[in-house]
Amino acid sequence: MEEKEKEKKDIFESAWQSLASVKLAIFILMALALLSIVGTIVEQGADPAQNIKLLGKLFGESVAPTVYNVFAKMGFMDMYGSWWYVGLLVLFSINLVVCSIDRFPKTWKVINKPLRPLGENAIKTLPVKKELTFKTDINRARDEFANALRSLRYKILEANEDGSVQLYTQKGKYARLAVYVVHLSIILIFLGALVGIQYGFKGYLNLPEGQTSSRAYKSPTEPIPLDFTIKCNWYETLYYEGGDTPKEFSSELVILEDGKEVLKKVIEVNDPLIYKGITFYQSNYGYMKEAEGYFSLTVTPDGGQEKKLWLRLGDTFEIPGTGVTGTIIDFSPALSRDPYSGELTTYAEMMVNPAVAIEFNVPGKDKFKGWILKRYPETGQFPDGSEIIFDDYWGVEYTGLQVAKDPGIWLIYLASITMSFGLYICFFISHKKIWVHIVSDKKSVSVAVGGSTNRNRLAFEKEIERLISRASKAIEGRSKNE
């Protein structure tokens, strides 16, 4: 029985040791790096034909389908979700946790070990050391070294003996915990991702101007019910002048609860709307060719009052007071003039350069047709001084929203912050210890300064030099004055 217990304990012990080992960590990091490379070459979650073509380039056309099938069976086509990749991440986490638990008590002991004065000889064997003599008395030397240490923000401990005094101090011992903070942050990120997968969703919603929805979609057949209603008032793309480079994509969204408006916001890329933990991101947009919308025009006769109009295709309106009438006869989402033939064409499927064609009827003259472009208001200026501005063709675009709920994001943000601080402390703050041993020797004192640090030795040596030069300047300066 006892034997068995012991054996069990041994097995447990050795399993623990292997799970805590840094060798395993090195192996896992290598494996993750190498496997991830494969994941960037083979396109993940893509149409099989695409990857077969790719494998054809790498291995030859004839074997590509076979290679594909083997790879697909092994999970390489959706690698990051495969059992072995996830398994490796789990092993990585276990390794990290076990290793941290295994080492933490030792670190904690080091941190809490009380600092003790050292013998003079011990000081002289420290990694950083220096010996000096001053023509002064022991108390002055003590005071000036204490001041110099304080000015470097050390809290001093002191030990007195007959004819000698020792100042000793340490700083930054808690920086030794930073590694654990970094490691813990990695675990927090995994947890955050899990919470997001378990309790959140990622969906989309294409919402036409003027319409409402109380669902988002994971896929066309997988609706996600929302417990409120969202409405798109309008969608608009703004362009930089003189080209088709988009300047901003924006939509005005309204949240309705029981038919009542509770929130209204114009969203842009990088500036989403958040309601009840669900975020609506501006992600794309589209033009619905078949839809019939409203033309919004602002008409101003020469010197007269402007008038807003809201018209359908085929409607006729009058420029007030002039007797001129116009009929809306055509629309192009992206009008351009061919530079060679001079012909007008529609050059894109999206509403990139919307234009409305209006047939004018001026009393006593022939009818004529003109295009007015939204992005070029000068096209609506007429020789008689009247003006027609094409504000929008409303109701034919939809806004493409990413809809996401991720309750895990707070863990991710928290972990980001802790990891940032952890890394900073880990690499830039060191645990430093300094001992200053002062012995009086007739008319002079001899001083031994020694120290150790767990990293950034060079910077620490500079600090010791600074300490010594401050103290010696003060000591020598004062003795001269006397």
Binding site: V22, K23, A25, I26, L29, M30, L32, A33, S36, I37, G39, T40, I41, E43, Q44, Q50, K53, L54, K57, Y80, A193, K202, Y240, E241, G243, T245, P246, K247, E248, F249, E268, V269, N270, P272, T279, Y281, S283, Q402, V403, A404, D406, I409, I412, Y413, S416, M419, S420, L423, Y424, C426, F427
Partner: protein
Amino acid sequence: MNSSLFFDISAGAYIAAMITYVIFLVVRSKTVGIVASTITILGFVSQTTALAIRWVNSYYFWMSSHPQSGLYEALLRAAPLRNLYESLVFFVWSLILAHILIEFKYKNRSLGAFVTPVAAMALLFIDISGTSKAIQPLIPALQSNWLLFHVLLSFLGYAAFAISFGAGAAYLITVTESKKELPYLFGSIIIGIFLAILIGMGIDFLSLSGAERANLIQNHWLKATIRSDSGGVATASWVIAIGFVAAVWHLGLRLKGALAKLDVTAIMLDDIAYKSIAVGFPLFTVGGLIMGAIWANSAWGKYWTWDPKETWSLITWFVYALYLHARYVGGWRGKRVAILAIVGFVAVVFTYLGVNLVLSGLHAYGG
């Protein structure tokens, strides 16, 4: 005022500095060393001026299309970190800054011969890749402070990694006895490949007309040589490229004697490599991975999508984490960790350029 004159001066200065540093390695005259440092510092001042001018110009450019912007917002949107060209220029700037700091700290000039070539290669790459140098309007997804800090910190991190690459390579040379040793073989082949690709792009550049050069990366990358449509040209190019890499391997060890006479110790190089990774790792983690993820989340609601660029950043991160653990707790020493420093930087270059160059060529998107 136009910034390009100052950029050209700095590019010329860095290339001159590279040559001077190499001469310094060979003749070891103190005067030559001082000249090399002076040229580098002058180039740096000129480049800083150029960056400032470009920033001011971009500021007015932004204000012309966004007159309602506040000063602070406009300055952030105008920061010259907005496309491939600007980020590479900033990379060179950070690299030279780091180099100057190290030169002062270690009071040793010889690392210059290993760092300035990386800067010169980046400059050459900018020129022959035909990337647009014009100030371009900022598309909506890029109008984000997170993105700005993401690029800023990542590139500072990349510069630190480039230093560790230079130090790692120099380390390998100093400790290698025979050129048949595997670590040296590996390091020299990597450097040979970098140089060969750059030369290949130079040939692309020369063979293309002005208009086609703008699409060199997308459509013509290495098409004049190893990716040529003509089988003969491609085969010959491969042979020449392999010969070139072999020559780099064969001759690289000649630098060893020069380094030894300049008091460049292996310990110092190892220390520089480690320290620059210790600086680069937090910068890259916070700037590259964390801020990149936050930006993606604020723009698209997804902080991680495993796209090739993100995945390669993660691979880079794994390699440097590997370096730190192998060296700090795993007991790895010497050549093995130097190799990791080199591999890490290869991953950096691949993350930034290779994903666009190589992977987009393999995949359906891109040319």
